[in-house]
Amino acid sequence: MSINRRQFLKIAGISTMLGIGSTAIVSGLRKGDLEASQFEVSPGALTAKRWGFVVDMSKFKSGEDIKRVIDSCHSIHNVPDYGNPKDEIKWIWKDDYEHVFPNQENEYATAELKEKPFMVFCNHCAQPACVRVCPTKATFKRQDGIVMMDMHRCIGCRFCMAACPFGARSFNFRDPRGTDENGRPFIKKENPEFPTRTKGVVEKCTGCYERLAKGLKPACVEASNGGIVFGDLEDPHSEVRKLIAKHYTIRRKPELGTQPSIYYIIGGNENA
């Protein structure tokens, strides 16, 4: 039997395809080694239909209170501090009224109101634009409303950062495990119970999903002395719903339709 070159290449090509195909099938079949029934929800975990926050800035008496809340989050989540705004990573921070609510523009508002600090973090929107655009489902919405990040899957395309109208997301422009020129580590003190991130992925507030699983409220809520209240927005008897019913609250950029889940009490001093 003699075959010419063309026939030989055809046979070689087809057998290679078959070879690759069958290994894929075999390894695919082996996937069922661990069954889903082996995984259970943590007992005592906090659950809700839609987690939400009410922020009452009148409970923050000084800059110290604000700093304590920020530190409570950034220290347990190993958030690095690069000391420059270009590479900056933040999960929760403060900005003033004028910039937190730019669509509430009011030229006769007092300087006091314009400069009043407000805590900002991920809004955990009900219709999140970041989730809609992510090409790998690395950011996704959990059933309890938390907008979650899977740092293992993120390819670092930063589409979510372009899509988020709240500037809630940060990108690891460099290795957070590194040190500055003086050898000072960017993460001052690592929390050994929580991972860091790696360079090239996007991160943000994850609603303290690791604490919710243990039955604990988010760290910022715990550190805020009632300044940040956490609860189920879908439950009419929850504390957050009672506060929303009692006070005048606004959300950031509701006109964009993302349905933010953070409600801000305005003028809390007088009403509280």
């Binding site: 943590s42 996704f140 991972p195």
Partner: protein
């Protein structure tokens, strides 16, 4: 054969390059890795409790699949409790469950991974237990 000389030289160079790794490592004995499970944390446990989440054989062959499934289960499905073949329950966490016992990452993880020349990226983010430099 046309250009026999050129083809032969080309073949020799190709053969040399392709077999270089074998010749380069010939005669060098690389110690077989022996992952140690005698950390103080494990030794503290009572004899009958010195068991991993699954059998030694299963863990040896499948720990990477297990960790991958743990990861997706915790991060994506919010199911954090693992029930093993014996019905025992564990918190699925590389840092807080696996490494709490296997506090000897260098001996337990790295030695095998280096031997097999695999570089899992777990430790780019997950914090390894503090170990004394040896």
């Amino acid at each position: 054969m046309y250009n026999a000389g050129k083809i032969l030289i080309g073949l020799i160079i190709f053969f040399g390059l392709a077999t270089f790794p074998f010749f380069y490592n010939m005669g060098k004995a690389i110690a077989k890795p022996e992952p140690k499970v005698d950390t103080p944390e494990i030794m503290k446990l009572a004899k009958q409790d010195r068991k991993c989440v699954e059998s030694k054989e299963f863990m040896r062959a499948e720990h990477m699949q297990l960790l991958n499934e743990w990861r997706d289960s915790v991060v994506r499905s919010n199911t954090r409790v693992y029930v093993n073949a014996e019905g025992k329950k564990f918190d699925m966490s590389l840092q807080n469950t696996c490494m709490r016992c296997h506090s000897n990452k260098k001996k337990f993880c790295d030695e095998c991974h280096n031997y097999m020349a695999v570089k899992p990226y777990c430790w780019d983010c997950h914090i390894a237990p503090k170990e004394k430099e040896s």
